[in-house]
């Protein structure tokens, strides 16, 4: 009798446990939405190839987690916060999406994370630059993974000032991202003993930079800094080359430059430019090995955003596996509790404000003589340690941080 009772109890308990394990992953499916600019200005740095990186992560993970299938949906946000909001709302409310990846334009990320906060789902921002995403716009429902404007200013501007570039002309894209970057840079320049002689704001986007380059030349500043991104930056660099800006003794500093931008410019036009990056495909053995697989699928070398999408998706899926649930707060906590050591980051940590802090790198574009192939573009000049690169929590305005 005792034996029968024991058998029955065990059976009932294990049935209940099995039931709860199944219920832990909602709908018995982990659904990931990939939202990014698939056709506009930011297409090449994230876009369709970012989706490939995401698919690679899911494939490498085995296509399922604790018996639950992993499903991917994707959409083009067209760089519009409105489109992003309605897509994310549809995904989380009707389609049962658990995590939204990609997220490129800062305005899109801020809009999307608000919706995610309302419905308590998770977002991992990989493409956006604005440091405000984990500062005044932080939520308990997202993580900012790859980089932000703080280390961009910190890394490049500090290095250039320390090398003797103490008078600056800043050319800024006239919208939120440009203003944020301009502010961060000005602080770093003045803190390090330099002066900002002139700031000029150009409309976003601008096709012809010749007028601005002429103003920069006549300003007499030693450093001409570009606080813009994408085609604005590449156009400005090309024009600076055409008008002989660097030949006349001025230094050009691009504050946000992606691998795809440098590739488009070519080493002839971009040689010698210093930039800050969160990752470079040729920086170590792990990065190279992963990039070789990526280029086989896409035909191009990955940007830091592509690599970040892969790494963060892996980290997310591991957290789901470890915590045996897709519940947002449990998974986010698990992600925060586990350091990141993979092809993207060594010893990366997610802080309470959602910022993933990891080492950043100051890179310099190679000369045509140094570059051995079309993607052999950077020399890594210096590693900027994680704690030095990102805004310290003591300066944070994030509501999740107790200052």
């Amino acid at each position: 009798m005792k034996l029968i009772k024991k058998i029955l109890t065990t059976a009932v308990t294990s049935a209940m446990l099995a039931g709860s394990a199944q219920a832990a992953i909602s709908d018995n499916e982990v659904r990931i939405g990939y939202l990014a600019d698939m056709s506009g200005t930011y297409r090449d740095l994230a876009g369709p190839n970012g989706l490939t990186a995401l698919e690679m992560a899911v494939e490498d993970f085995g296509g399922q987690v604790n018996g639950a299938a992993i499903k991917i949906v994707s959409a083009d946000d067209r760089n519009s916060p409105d489109v992003a909001s309605s897509t994310v709302r549809q995904w989380v409310e009707a389609d049962g999406v658990d995590m939204v990846a990609g997220l490129v334009a800062s305005s899109v990320s801020i809009a999307a994370t608000r919706i995610l906060e309302q419905s308590d789902k998770l977002g991992i921002v990989s493409g956006s630059a604005a440091s405000s995403i984990t500062n005044e716009h932080c939520t308990p429902n997202h993580i900012h993974y790859v980089y932000d404007t703080y280390p961009l200013a910190n890394g490049t501007a500090q290095a250039v000032v320390q090398e003797g570039g103490d008078s600056w002309f800043i050319l800024t894209a006239d919208y939120a991202f440009g203003h944020a970057l301009e502010g961060d840079v000005e602080k770093v320049v003045t803190d390090n003993g330099g002066t900002v002689m002139q700031k000029v704001r150009h409309p976003f986007p601008t096709g012809d930079f010749s007028s601005f380059i002429l103003q920069a030349q006549s300003s007499g500043a030693k450093v001409v800094a570009l606080a813009n991104a994408g085609s604005d930056t590449t156009n400005a660099i090309t024009t600076a080359g055409e008008f002989g800006l660097t030949q006349s003794g001025q230094t050009l500093a691009a504050l946000l430059l992606f691998l795809t931008d440098v590739h488009a410019l070519g080493v002839d036009a971009a040689q010698g430019i210093q930039l800050t990056t969160g990752w470079y495909w040729d920086m170590d053995e792990d990065a190279r090995a992963w990039s070789d697989r990526f280029i086989e699928k896409t035909g191009v070398r990955p940007t830091m955003v592509h690599a970040g999408i892969y790494s963060s998706t892996m980290h997310y899926l591991n957290a789901v596996k470890e915590s045996a649930t897709d519940d947002t707060q449990t998974v986010r906590q698990q992600m925060m509790d586990t350091p990141i050591n993979d092809m993207f980051a060594k010893g990366g940590v997610i802080r309470e404000d959602g910022r993933m802090v990891h080492d950043m790198y100051l890179a310099q574009v190679k000369t045509p003589a140094e570059s051995t192939n079309e993607w052999d573009l950077y020399n890594i000049v210096r590693t900027i340690p994680a704690e030095e690169a990102y805004r310290p929590l003591s300066e944070s305005q994030c509501k999740l941080v107790n200052n």
């Binding site: 056709s39 006239d174 409309p203 096709g207 012809d208 007028s211 024009t239 002989g244 488009a264």
Partner: protein, 295 residues
């Protein structure tokens, strides 16, 4: 150093010259639009796409076949012009008698399709095209460094603009064109092949856009979206000059380049809107544009 409104005269002169160079692009593009609208009454929203195709063609011809700049300057507009003739023959002709708005919608849709297809193939980061060796470097004018290539652009654009105006206003072919679009039945009675004339005119307008694209390839980043960005400005230029007025398109193009250049010095944030401000003011005073004829 003498100053005007706090800006050194030397800097101002440099900006005026740059404005003139940008204006040359606007003039060349708006000239094509004016020819197409003036003679065919087609509002050609695909003009930016043809400009982009001209630039893209130059890069692709060089990368795949090693075709040099001078050959591309003729070949690229020719290829894009033939493509334009196909578009006219197979699409625009079908709606020739419908309201203008149909040609606007059709060409707008066409531009989106062309732009989308090439974005998928080439991405948006932009392709590079080196400045031809003969134009490498520049000359120091004292108030600014003028790259030789920019000087060439202004010269080439002015020659083409003048040539086009001369052909349409002063030659027999031009008079056929103007008459053929004015009263096509009468012209056909005289034995003139008006549909062919229409196709060729459209093709010529498209060639002008593609020619501007070839000129632009070495100085701007060549991307599938480059046409969309410039098109709206060019339309404003055409409206200010007077829809269909050839001389209006050229003069306004140059003038708007200069106004835009000066805005970049005094209040750079407004440089992308100043042309539209001028457009509003002009339309308030002269609804048909500066050089347009009142309907």
């Amino acid at each position: 150093m003498s100053m005007i409104f706090g800006v050194p005269v030397a800097v101002l002169s440099g900006q005026l010259l740059l404005g003139l160079i940008n204006g040359a692009f606007y003039a060349l593009l708006s000239l094509g639009l004016a020819v197409i609208f003036g003679l065919l009454k087609i509002i050609n929203f695909a003009h930016g796409a043809f400009y982009m195709l001209g630039a893209l063609c130059t890069v692709v011809l060089f990368d795949s076949l090693g075709v040099n700049y001078w050959v591309a300057l003729i070949l690229a507009p020719l290829l894009v012009g033939i493509f334009g003739i196909f578009i006219e023959y197979f699409l625009l002709r079908k709606i020739a008698n419908a309201d203008h708005i149909y040609s606007l919608l059709l060409t707008f849709g066409l531009a989106l399709v062309i732009q989308g297809v090439f974005t998928n193939i080439y991405g948006v980061s932009g392709l590079r095209y080196a400045i031809p060796d003969v134009f490498k470097g520049g000359v120091n004018l004292g108030f600014m460094f003028l790259p030789y290539y920019r000087a060439w652009v202004i010269l080439a654009a002015l020659v083409i603009c003048f040539g086009t105006w001369f052909m349409i206003e002063k030659t027999k072919l031009g008079s056929y064109l103007r008459a053929g679009t004015e009263n096509s039945q009468l012209m056909q009675a005289f034995g003139i092949n008006v549909p062919l004339l229409v196709s060729l005119t459209y093709g010529f307008g498209v060639m002008l856009a593609a020619f501007a694209g070839v000129l632009a390839a070495p100085i701007y980043s060549v991307t599938p979206v480059m046409g969309g960005n410039i098109l709206i400005i060019v339309f404003a230029v055409v409206v200010i000059g007077g829809m269909g007025s050839i001389i209006g398109a050229v003069i306004t193009g140059l003038a708007m380049g200069i106004i835009e250049g000066l805005t970049k010095v005094f209040y750079p944030e407004a440089s992308s809107t100043v042309i539209f401000l001028v457009m509003v003011l002009v339309l308030l005073v002269r609804p048909a544009g500066l050089f347009g004829k009142e309907a």
